[in-house]
């Protein structure tokens, strides 16, 4: 796996490219998700048109919204803990950027090839809890406080099934490196037939479901949106935020949806790869260079499908109550994921 670029890029240039790539990898999916799902799919599901005025079919609506938010006053409540209040949305957004760092988009198109990528992704994914908790606490608003506490309880409860669901994949792939997990899926074969590789969703279907449910909770999307719960807590931890700090929360919410969908597609759906047997590749070094262009597109497609499902659920379900949500996590998801690990491990040893 040697990076072969046509021109020699100095280290600072590589770093700049990585930062730009990170911005694209986070903001482009976020914008697409907001426009395609939040604006358009939701509208069609609710028998209305959605934004139609700004640009063709309202496609420029998001830019208009961003412009609006940037113009708004950055209000800090009088009794708020101003410094922490201002940092909180940045923590949330930065955790998203840190998350995208380990995701491979192609044979050479990665930011870092980190050998404990899964571990890192799951650890960093829970950093946003701090931002949310701090946002709720520092706002000096009772609704925000309730929202922040709910978010903390919920995110911790759903971090566990998420980690446990991934353990099954790690056992099966025999590696915590995301690149290796992609390889294991695309070079694998089902009973000697390698036509579609071996995406782990086939054997780890339970794990996939648990992972997606946990992602839904982690993103605080309905039916797990009680930290925001606009009909109870106004907007939960975001109540007091306005202007570009709200925008950061907003981008963070949808960008994280995209990034978690990317992780899910890497872990369960074969990531950037196409079954290697199609082109006679055996190892990652034989993969042609054009996969660095096609790979991200494949990832993007898979991400859109998965976020589409996340949003679909979000638009159609009412929300749980806090205690029901905790009960669901601790009494259903965690035992189920533990059973999944046990079965996977036994099968791995026996077969």
């Amino acid at each position: 796996m040697i990076v072969q670029l046509a021109v020699e890029v100095p280290y600072w240039g590589q770093s700049l490219l990585r930062v730009l790539g990170g911005l694209v990898a986070v903001l482009l999916p976020a914008g697409t998700i907001v426009y395609l799902f939040l604006f358009k799919m939701m509208s069609f599901m609710q028998s209305r048109l959605g934004p139609m005025e700004a640009g063709p079919f309202g496609s420029m609506q998001l830019f208009a919204e961003v412009g609006k938010w940037l113009q708004k006053e950055d209000i800090v409540p009088e009794n708020a803990d101003a410094r922490i209040y201002k940092i909180a949305p940045i923590i949330v957004l930065v955790s998203t950027f840190l998350l995208v760092v380990v995701i491979p988009f192609g044979p050479d198109a990665w930011f870092t090839n980190f050998s404990a990528g899964v571990f890192y992704a799951l650890a960093i994914g829970s950093v946003s809890v701090i931002g949310i908790l701090v946002a709720g606490w520092s706002s000096a608003n009772k609704y925000s406080l309730l929202g922040g506490l709910r978010a903390a309880g919920q995110l911790i409860a759903y971090e566990l099934p998420m980690v446990l669901a991934v353990v099954g994949v790690v056992i099966q792939a025999g590696s915590m490196n995301l690149q290796d997990i992609v390889m294991a899926q695309n070079t694998g074969e089902i009973f000697g037939w390698s036509g579609i590789g071996f995406p782990f969703v086939l054997t780890q279907f339970v794990g996939f479901l648990i992972f997606m449910i946990a992602v839904q909770a982690e993103l605080t999307q309905a039916p797990f949106d009680m930290p925001i719960a606009e009909s109870e807590l106004v907007s939960g931890y975001m109540t007091e935020y306005s202007g570009f700090r709200f925008l950061m929360f907003f981008i963070g919410e949808f960008a994280t949806a995209g990034v978690f969908a990317l992780i899910a597609s890497v872990l369960f759906l074969g990531g950037w790869g196409i079954p290697f047997s199609w082109f006679g590749w055996e190892t990652i070094d034989q993969v042609d260079n054009w996969m660095n262009i096609v790979g991200p597109l494949i990832m993007f497609t898979k991400m859109m499908v998965l976020t589409g499902i996340i949003m679909w659920v979000r638009f159609s379900y009412p929300r749980f109550r806090e205690d029901q949500l905790q009960r669901f996590a601790w009494k259903v998801l965690i035992p189920l994921s533990l059973a999944n690990i046990a079965v996977t491990a036994i099968v791995k040893v026996v077969v």
Binding site: M42, A229, P318, R319, D323
Partner: protein, 390 residues
Amino acid sequence: MTMLSERQQLSYIASQAADARLNVELETEGMTLNIGPQHPATHGTLRIIARLDGEQVVWAEPSAGYMHRGYEKLTEVRTFPQVTTLINRIDWLGSFANEVPFILAAEKLMEIEAPPRAQHIRTILFELSRIANVGLFLGDLGVQMGAITPVFLAFRDREYVLNLIEGATGGRFHPNFDRIGGLKDDLPQGWIDETRQVMKKLRGFCDEIEDLLFGNEIFQSRTRGIGVIPADVARQYGLSGANLRASGVDWDLRRDQSLPMAWDKVDFKVWTHPDGDSWARCWVRLQEVRESTKIVDQLLDTMPAGPVMAKVPRIIKVPEGEAWVSTENPLGEMGYYVVSKGDLGPFRVKIRSASFNNISITPWLLKGVYVPDIITILASLYFILGDIDR
């Protein structure tokens, strides 16, 4: 009596404490949460002061009156025909139904009766406003629990009903169509066929909501067994309408009362539910919308011919006397006690609106529930702020 004064005392202390704490540091123990007056779940400006222990409500008290518009006083300076314009706005989602009891009370005092065709059309419009009102409730229910799609479906299908009301009366929200002695106009051409089609659509809407919302397990777990009102408590607090029927009390003024309206000419079922929880209240309302569409269909089939206006003097002076008429409005029992001194306008009007009594149970009902359940219970009790504050 002692209990009442104690409650008043507590209410005073809590409101003072709530005001004082607004700008004070947060307390971890026994937080007082002000839900409203500006809160998305209160459909307007209802304020609920809740003392919380964690997420559990220790004590709650509704504080009404932020939207008091003084209707009872305003009616005294208006003539009888002018009053309907005003009282339209009490329950703004089912406004035609507000006019009917007042007009009936005035007719009772004048000892006239609307012709049969007018009675029929009145009943149809009454039921249409019930459908428009409760249909929106069915969608709003979802939004209170975080499902955003049903409310748009409800608004979409309520539009058909509002179009019908507009077609017949000229006003979508505030028809002001009822006159003492009958109605302003007859129905327009083609209205009856149109209504039949819309009723079919609305039955489809009810099925859709039942699938989307009532069949949803999360919805069931959020409403079943939550906010249970036993029948005797419901009676003591003076609940009416679907809230009372959901507690298993078979009580419907449309059936139990003989008014000069057309309900006795149709055959309909009064739905009750034994459970008395939030689910039962929602379910009874859903069945009521269905039943209303059937009532409208039957009335359309048996529409009599004839005038829509009885002979009334040009300048209406209601003879001296007192009359009480109440009807089964979308939100519950709504009644007017009209006192006339023989003038152009009423001497005094006492309005009994359903929501005011319906939310009076909240201090009893909200004790011990969780914060998210406050919202579902309030949503299932279904009040309209105009109907509380008048």
